[in-house]
Amino acid sequence: MFKPQAMNKVELIIPEHEVVRTTEALAASGIFHHIPTAPLTIGIPSRGIDEWQTWTTELVALERRILMVMEELRIDEGPPPATPPHIIEPRVAERDIERLEHEAEAPIRDLEAARRRLTQLQKYVNQLAPIADLDVDLGMLRDLRYTFVMLGSIPVTNIERLESSLEHIPCVLITLRHEGHLATVVLFGLQQDAAVLNRAARSAYLNPLILPEDYRGTPSQAIAALQAGIERTREHIAEYEMEIARLQEMRVRHLRHLLWRVRASHALAHTITGYNHFQHTYLVTGWVPAASLPTLEQTIGRVSDKVVIEVIKPREEDIEHIPALLKNPPILKGFEGLVTTYGQPGYEELDPTPIMALTFPLVFGLMFGDIGHGLVLLLAGLLLAGRKIRALSGMAGFGVVIALCGGIATIFGVLYGSLFGFEDVLTALWFRPLEDINKVLLFAVAVGIVLLSAGMLYNMLNAALSRHWGHFLFNHNGLAGLIFYWSLIGLGARTFGVAIPIPGTVLVLTAVIGGIGLTFAEFFERLVERRRPLFEEGMGTYIAMAFFELFETLIGLFSNTLSYVRMGAFAVAHGALSMVVFIIAESVGNASSVGYWIVVILGNLFVIGFEGMIVGIQTLRLEYYELFSKFFSGGGTPYRPLSLVPRQGQLGASESTGG
């Protein structure tokens, strides 16, 4: 639980004709972390890899086409399949997609056309509305012998330009109404200028109102016919939508299945392009948990007996790149998530998840001590963890974190004697933070000292595991740092009259020894670990820098410790905020009034939500910056087993400079 699982490097030599099945098996095993490699045959194009690259390109395009059809049929991707789908060749997938595109095309095209027709008919009605009272047949206006008349719509910005262009032509342009960026206009002129007027109107984007045959007559007759046409078009739209819904229902599974098959095929092709290809074989490199090695051998053995598997023990130079597979029980997954948000533990590093699981709820509970608030969080956390809230089922792991925080907050609530902000209902088993502020602040500092010391011990353990003995002994978070820190705490405690069973001179001596160790930490570390030169930038520079570094370490330890005072401050603030709720409630009415209780309930909800969030953030801050900085570097490689069902956004070319 404290260290990532042991890993073995695996090299597989796969015959060319077995590459697909073997890759599928590797992905299905769920244990193989693939390392894409640069081709060994640099400069020599590999026929095999080139073909897979072509597959990759084609499959990306096909995936896009499927997604377009799905979008048009309003089908979402659905969840990834439970078992990896079978691989599909691009040309086979393309045939399938073409058929689906063809099938979907007609109803979608009809629907779009009907919608456009509806817009057009509505536009006609709007254009005719200003002349609805005119008792003239519209057809007659077009066929006038001496007068040219054009009714239509034009972008407002073009009206002035049209007038300007017709400056020398006898005509009148009348704007009847504005609607958005368009205007309904009527252009009058002489029939003898019809050609000029038509060309001018067209070039100004004056779209003439040319009503279809069904909508002739006077404007009011045309409007009535248009309204009927609008109704008919709406009915058609409903029919097309039903047809699309039917198609959607019929094809949803097929499209989703095809999409995931294409994606899996793309993932497979993409993976193979990361293999080394020789004349008839592929060389594949990756990492497998040592304990799972037999499983991998069995899996591959079932697929082919021609695949050669070579197991290589991790070498010193590999350590940095070995993926770290954390092995925490499911209950700690939420805390693991918080750790990996900060950084991925390295392969040789201790996993901070257990210490996080211990300290996070403790720190949170100390700041949020209230039986009622704690129980609400506990309940909410249990609901989340039990996936009882379907919309938040993805946060189940985080539910455990909330539940534990709520549980510890409840315990502190018992100690503080606080229930939903009521401070006088229960007797405090320990003390009330609001009544003894110094005590809670000192307690917070004491907890901080314990946590920081634990961090330093963790750091020493990390150094011991990786056999960095110089770091173990002399690092400012190592043994020298710990001795220095505790000596200073002892001296500080004695100054304030705390009885310490160690004589002052001993504490001074240990502080000096620790201080010397820290001042010359780099020198000693290099000496112990036999690294040369001992002084990288000369002795003079080193001594000058060492003094400042000691000073910085001193300040750092002091500020880190004081940083934990906030735990006490928040415990006080929690009580104070609850008090404010009651003051507001009392201003609304007395305890027998409904208003009083509404304010108390809303106020408590506010405290749980708002202050809970702030305390959560502060806890995270203390964990990340004060504790983790003592021992955790977080620069490891996450263990990502090969999978042919990629997560969204995992694959696909991103355009940067078009390369």
């Binding site: 330009r161 262009s165 355009e655 390369g659």
Partner: protein, 362 residues
Amino acid sequence: MIRTNVTAYAQVNATTRALYANLLTPDVWHALIQAANFDALLTLLDKTAYSPFLKLDRQLLTPRRTVYQLRWHLTHDYEKLIRLTPEPACQLILQLWRLYEVDNLKATLRGVETGASWDEVRRLLSPMVRYITVNNETIQRMLASGSVVRAIERLRHTPYYETLIHALTRYEMEKNLFPLEVALDLDYRRGLWEAIQSLKGTDRDQALRLVGTSIDVDNLLWAMRYRLYHHLSVQEIINYTMPFGYQVRDEHIRALAEGADMVTIVKRIYPHIEGLDDTGPQSREEPPSPQRQLALIERALHRHIIRLCHKSFLGDPFHVGVQVAYLMLLEYELRDLTAIVEAKAAQLPSEKLTAILESEWW
């Protein structure tokens, strides 16, 4: 005001000047023009500011792909200057950037009409990643839609939709992309003009001087081309040109539309402009054809803009004119580089090249 501009433009001005120093020098131009072949040209370009964008396998660098890669330089600099330029001047740079989006849309519509695939079209587009309203996904959907009408539907919720949907009536009647393209062009320049009008003080003056002149030049050239090549009526030419501009007025457009001499009109607007006369071998024997005359006018007007851009780097530097000038110069540089790439790919002799290039810094 001056102090405000100094603070606001300090960083972007320093950046722009650094970028300006990266424009190709006369020596480099000379070397590019004299390059023995396309491969030698690529080797030379690899030593310029375009180098980071040409880090591809040489086999992939076809002439078309090379031009596409070169345009990444413009994309890179536009994005940088948009990020650094203070408001409201930034809106002008954004609007200038939108020209490439408009051009991409026009290319896409052409692709839709000819049934081209995304792979056929993508390298013809200007690369655009940020500060855009139409992304590659939308363009792919347009191309997959199968018809211009449906492609325009894919632009719903973009600033181009209303313009195109209204112009679509004409497209459906004429089955020609011309009305759609003109509508896009006019709408884009209207937006550009509005962006200039929203500026104040030196920013506005400089924007008018550079972008305003550029709009004027477009207006004049459009009017001349409509008359010469499309044989449009006076009214059509007026409607297809812009009612605004810096020095060009309606009377100039009307005169051109009515058939006035092109050189006379240009000289009336720009009395000191050079290069309108033909210096070719046959120039003394017979007057140039109208088409040749138009080509000469076009080059002279573009060179006029290039000179204005270079002048922007003299005097008070704390205004948007410096950024606009640099970006316009880079665009002209790219046009010339495109011509050189295509000429080298077609094995055109070097001496014929200088005649078709916009700039004159060699």
